[in-house]
């Protein structure tokens, strides 16, 4: 069962798919896009046409690409998603906190000052392969589940430390054990096991495998 954020419009999903194809260096024909987002070809083509009309997507030699405006739109969507999903915690409490906070204005600035998600992290978020909606913090994995690391968030020092300990983008990890009450999480990575505090684990964004 793939977990999907409630309100993702099809166009954004298609744009995510084009971006991922571009990042992976593979083709993004209408068929590829349809396959990636799991829609019938006609529906995908409708979405792509709409994207072209809005100036977000352009077609070049049978391959779809994002325009500058399109890249910006995906980026904004991803940053917003990360903020809404991880910034204030998930679930009803996070929702309440976001409500109380009101309009944050400049989102990247807000992320940096409030949530330690700085420009570098946003760049990493923008460069993530796969739909952003499939991303979740490592701390939400259950015991025994495996995942691919997308990017570690947090300050530069923490991020570098995590990467040095082997949690590089793209590496596969398995949750070996979780301590009770938001305690640390033990993960298997690169043949060793690593204990991560709950706070640290919630800053490692992953994509769940084998569900």
């Amino acid at each position: 069962m793939g977990r999907r954020a409630p309100k993702v419009d099809g166009l954004t999903e298609a744009m995510e798919a084009i971006l991922t194809a571009h990042l992976e260096g593979s083709g993004a024909s209408a068929v590829d896009v349809a396959k990636r987002i799991g829609l019938p070809l006609e529906e995908a083509e409708d979405l792509l046409r709409k994207g072209q009309e809005d100036g977000l997507i352009l077609l070049e030699g049978g391959q779809y690409k994002l325009t500058e405006k399109g890249i910006e739109a995906v980026r904004e969507h991803r940053v917003r998603f990360v903020h809404e999903s991880y910034g204030h915690g998930r679930g009803p409490l996070g929702y309440l906190r976001r409500l109380l906070e009101g309009d944050v204005g400049d989102l990247p600035f807000h992320l940096q000052t409030k949530h330690e998600i700085d420009g570098k992290a946003i760049e990493e978020i923008s460069a993530t392969r796969g739909a952003i909606e499939d991303a979740l913090p490592l701390s939400e994995l259950r015991e025994g589940e495996s995942a691919i690391v997308l990017y570690p968030l947090g300050g530069f020092g923490l991020r570098r430390r995590l990467i040095e300990m082997g949690l590089t983008p793209g590496v596969e990890i398995t949750v070996l054990r979780r301590a009770p009450f938001r305690g640390p999480i033990e993960v298997g990575v690169r043949g060793t096991s690593l204990a991560l505090g709950f706070g640290v684990a919630s800053k490692v964004i992953v994509r769940r495998l084998g569900v």
Partner: protein
């Protein structure tokens, strides 16, 4: 003819058996000290092999050569500027990929390396076989399989070291980066070699280039301060952008990825997996001891038994040491002094110096030695990380993470090693915070006071209540200090090593080395303080002092006048408060001296008021005198405040 004396540095990740190899190499000759000006342990030793004198230096166990922790900075600086003749990189054969990440970083520094492929026995038990020859071919450095604990392969390792010293083995200049990265690095290092000649003399230009791409603050700062710095940094910016455009990831991630990519490929190529072994005893132990429910009772049982053993063995040793000291050393000392010196001075020395040493020998050491031995067993078996894992949550309440549990645990034995153990925390802020709360934990001496007074006269329950109050206080003070100290708390990132059988020899050596370093820190202060107080007594300052303390001791705390002087003496060792009280009052029946409420107040104050002089010395050593004295003053204030309040609250009740 090669030079006669050579230096070997041992480098590698934590938990790979580096210190075991160090012990095998150096035997009893080792000395444990500090790196100059730093609170990071430096172990050194010498050995003789094939007519050579080899100086062996054990570098701190680290995962990378960046500037994340003091250990890493020290290891890096030593490798770059200390110029060891050979670096022995100890590698865990059962976890090759992670270990090779560090090896690749060493290779970047372009220094002579020999790999000690350790724990091959353990790896083969896990069904992992490493082709050492192939590994050596791929990396271009000698690889010697070892089983450090039995000494297997150590001689071969030394022979390889000698070959290396004789110049028979060349430094590997193999590079392990992708095409684009190498191209960028090539360009950058050429510019560095010509524009930053001073730095290029200290470090290889290619290494500087890598560090600049990684955004290493230390190297970047040094490059910037050079007159050509801005030009180089502009080039670095361009190079970073280039890499980020190609790989779609920040350059520090690109470089880490390349290293891990190579480590992964190399590890895959040299590793042969035997049929999957059955779940081992160690795995099962690992599962159950960190279990989300069962783990906690096991934790409790482990530590309860440790305290039980420490107090039984310690009490027994204490009696023996005390008797030896009282019956043998003191009369002997007095006798010798008496024949040489005048009576007054002889008595002064006997009371001052001998009593000071006696205090250390008969109270601190008996509890410290078994505690250190048990701690070494816990450490070498791999249980401590499990305990840290289980306690992480609670430690976070004080702005610390799970590893801080280890100094807190040590605090139950003695505050001095607890202060020293705070070095396992990564940053200064956490180090101090951990020490600040660890010294409030009731140590063995304070337990003697609580048990000897409240426990003996009022019963076990009030004594345990006092204990519980202290632990609650630790949590509370820790929480306040955490909120008061500026800075963000740091999360736990800790490797969980597999369980291993500890070696008896290593345990003994560790215990001995630590006891020695404890004695070096604590004894001079205990003896010095003892002499000072004895001098006070002879000059006749004690009575005026206790008069001066009347408002505080009698009016505020509600204690008898004598308590003031005994609390003063308690600075030397906490249990002296109790012993002296009996001496001054002329009776060992405390019920005649103190009312129940006074017993509680007295114990409470003795428990909190001042970390003993040895602890202050240890604090000063780790954090400087300013912080040490501030901490002491805070604790005195806290004790006086709580003691007075306790008196006022409990008096009507009891």
């Amino acid at each position: 003819m090669a030079k006669e004396e050579a230096t070997i540095a041992l480098a590698g990740n934590a938990n790979v058996g580096k210190s075991v190899i160090f012990n095998q190499l150096t035997g009893a000759s080792q000395t444990i000290g500090n790196w100059p000006g730093k609170t990071v342990e430096k172990a050194e030793g010498t050995l003789f092999f094939m007519g050579r004198v080899l100086r062996v230096i054990d570098l701190p166990g680290i995962y990378s050569l960046s500037t994340f922790s003091m250990e890493e900075i020290i290891a890096r600086e030593y490798i770059a500027t200390g110029r060891p003749d050979v670096i022995v990189n100890v590698v865990d054969a059962s976890s090759l990929e992670r270990n090779l990440y560090f090896t690749l970083q060493l290779l970047e520094m372009e220094v002579p390396i020999i790999i000690a492929l350790n724990l091959v026995d353990y790896a083969s038990k896990k069904g992992i076989r490493i082709d050492a020859k192939r590994l050596s071919e791929l990396l271009g450095v000698p690889v010697v399989p070892t089983v450090a604990i039995t000494g297997e392969g150590i001689e071969e390792l030394l022979r390889t070291v000698i070959d290396c010293l004789d110049g028979k083995i060349k430094v590997s200049r193999r590079t392990f980066k992708g095409k684009e990265v190498e191209r960028v690095l090539g360009k950058l290092s050429k510019a560095i070699a010509s524009d930053l000649p001073e730095m290029a003399k200290l470090y290889p230009p290619r290494w500087i280039a890598i560090k600049l791409l990684e955004g290493d603050e230390d190297i970047e700062g040094r490059a910037r301060s050079h007159e050509n710095g801005p030009r180089i940094m502009a080039l670095v910016e361009v190079a970073r952008e280039e890499l980020e455009n190609i790989h779609g990831e920040p350059s520090h991630v690109v470089i880490a990825n390349e290293r891990y990519g190579f480590a992964n490929r190399i590890a895959k190529e040299v590793t042969r997996f035997a049929p999957a072994p059955r779940i081992s005893m160690e795995d099962r132990l690992g599962y159950i001891t960190a279990h989300r429910i069962l783990g906690y009772p096991i934790l409790l049982a482990v530590f309860a038994s440790i305290f039980w053993i420490v107090f039984v063995v310690g009490g027994y040793l204490s009696k023996i040491f005390d008797a030896l000291f009282e019956d043998l050393v003191i009369p002997l000392g007095e006798g010798i002094m008496g024949t040489i010196l005048q009576g007054g001075i002889a008595e002064f020395i006997a009371n001052g110096v001998l009593a000071g040493i006696g205090a250390g020998v008969s109270i601190a050491l008996p509890f410290i030695i078994p505690f250190y031995a048990l701690l070494a067993i816990l450490e070498d078996s791999g249980y401590l990380p499990r305990a840290a894992f289980l306690m992480d949550n609670l430690m976070h309440k004080m702005g610390l993470h799970g590893k801080a549990f280890i100094p807190l645990l040590l605090g139950f034995g003695c505050s001095v090693p607890a202060c020293l153990a705070c070095r396992i925390m990564e940053r200064d802020r956490e180090r101090f915070l951990a020490a600040f709360v660890a010294i409030l934990i009731p140590c063995a001496a304070r337990t003697v006071v609580i048990m000897g007074l409240v426990g003996a006269y009022l019963g076990l329950l009030p004594a345990l209540g006092l204990y519980a109050f202290d632990l609650a206080l630790v949590l509370l003070v820790g929480r306040i200090a955490y909120k008061a100290l500026p800075g963000e708390p740091m999360g736990l990132i800790m490797e969980m090593p597999p369980y291993r059988m500890p070696s008896f020899r290593i345990i003994i050596k560790k215990t001995w080395a630590r006891t020695k370093s404890f004695a070096c820190i604590a004894f001079p202060y205990i003896v010095g303080g003892s002499i000072a107080l004895e001098a006070f007594r002879i000059v006749g300052w004690l009575d005026p002092l206790s008069e001066a303390m009347v408002p505080l001791v009698v009016w505020w705390l509600g204690l008898p006048k004598e308590a003031g002087v005994t609390l003063l003496f308690g600075i030397l060792r906490k249990e002296l408060t109790l012993i002296l009280l009996a001496t001054l009052a002329g009776t060992a029946n405390y019920a005649e001296i103190l009312a129940p409420v006074q017993m509680i107040v007295f114990s409470l104050v003795a428990m909190i008021y001042f970390p003993c002089i040895a602890t202050v010395a240890a604090l000063a050593k780790e954090f400087g005198w300013g912080k040490a004295l501030a901490t002491a003053l805070f604790d005195i204030g806290l004790a006086v405040l709580l003691g007075g309040l306790a008196f006022r609250i409990l008096y009507p009740l009891l």
